[in-house]
Amino acid sequence: MLTMQEIMETIKMVQEEKLDIRTITMGISLRDCCHPAPHKAADKIYDKITRLAENLVPVGENIAREFGIPIVNKRISVTPISLVGECTEIDDYYIFARAMDKAAREVGVNFIGGFSTLVHKGMTRGDAKLIQSIPRALAETERVCASVNVATTKAGINMDAVHLMGNVIKETAERTRDKDGLGCAKLVTFANVPEDNPFMAGAFHGVGEPESVINVGVSGPGVVNRAVSRVREADFGTLAETIKKTAFKITRMGELVGRTAASRLGVPFGIVDISLAPTPAVGDSVAEILESMGLERCGTHGTTAALALLNDAVKKGGAMASSYVGGLSGAFIPVSEDAGMVRAVEEGALGLDKLEAMTCVCSVGLDMIAVPGDTSAETLAAIIADEAAIGVINQKTTAVRIIPAPGKKTGDRVEYGGLLGSAPVMLVHPFSSTEFVRRGGRIPAPVHSLSN
């Protein structure tokens, strides 16, 4: 029988420490939606998504009520659209983005990911068309998210694609100028992208995935922070152990919700992504966990070590709690979505360079960072190249979600609202990277890619 303490602990986690299931994401294969006539392909996309995901939102809401745990988002990821669009002759893939957007609205999900492509070694015609279609797709739809994988440890870094993404990010920002470049918040450039990630904006349904699948992303920085605060004077062994135990409990909840949702929707259960995903709400911050470990402000010396400990302990605890762990799994360090990160930037404790160092030991990369609107496409590309290099060499996922906010200067603020939060515009290096970026071609894969 459960004890009263255990029951109260769970209730406290949800009510006071903001434990929630961040997302139930349904992956849907669209590989059978190809058709030479673009409007027919778009209809097939719409029909398949609305058919398979019809019950996603009500099932998610019922599970949330029965277990008494909030499920913040219900989302959909689909096959990279470049694969579906490729057999048409059309140049602008916006029509497919529109079909995705309409389907997402119909089934009531707030984001749908998969306006994506993987070009780490080179581009097909369809890949190039998709990338060129991204700015319009993100400006003229509301819920569609795009992602492009430009590097892997096995292939190296496709610098042509990296350069192109610099331009695409600029154009996306320009097309959503009236909203401070909001389109860029829905666009992620990856290295070593996982194919089963449930978190937006980088989710898509990989080619190795089944027809349909349920993946779950758990969260809970508030719960971890509370646990860390309770062992303030303890040594690092105790600190790591405390985080592990907490991550275990959080992940068990994700496993339960994921399995229940999958069985009720009649699709296989994929993975639990054991990530600490912050939100702008007070007390739901990864930066605050690092500060509770004994740093005056996130970003000061010691931050990378603290984040490394946190990330590793979350993985160790989470891995024991779930039979299938996947996706990004680790700590997210977005700026705009984390009130503690925003404060650290505004007080001058945290800059782009330190964030880059932190991405070496966390689960993703430079995330939700606003930079001045006059940042050049080449500088953006160079920032992406740096992140990709970290991912490729360390055999981990890295990503860049950066917003060159039109008309804004360092120190200004941009507001995106809701889960996307608000961000201070951060300083970038004034020195040019243009000559380097414009070389073109591919940075070769590192020697440790020769692992066969």
């Binding site: 459960l2 009263m4 029951i7 109260m8 769970t10 029965e66 277990f67 409990k249 909840m253 229940t260």
Partner: protein, 99 residues
Amino acid sequence: MSDTTKKEMKNRVIVTVLGPDKVGIIAGVAQILAENNINILDISQTILQEFLAMVLIADMDASTVDLLELKQKLNELGEKIGVRIDAQHEDAFSYMHRI
């Protein structure tokens, strides 16, 4: 695990009451459970300062309502008497605390 134990586990709910202590809270909750043919298996409570924390484990095997309906009835009672009453599936707790 035998089929019968599995079944029992599947239908158990945890009812929690949190709020200022008053006359008739447990009576009210018990009445709703009885009306809907839900069997109480265990009750424990403590008073922290003036606040009541009560946890009740019940078996919904023969219940005439489903968990969502029960939850709604308990929420309504809670609102009426000024405490927070909730019902959650037992799995939400056992999954987290039992391997």
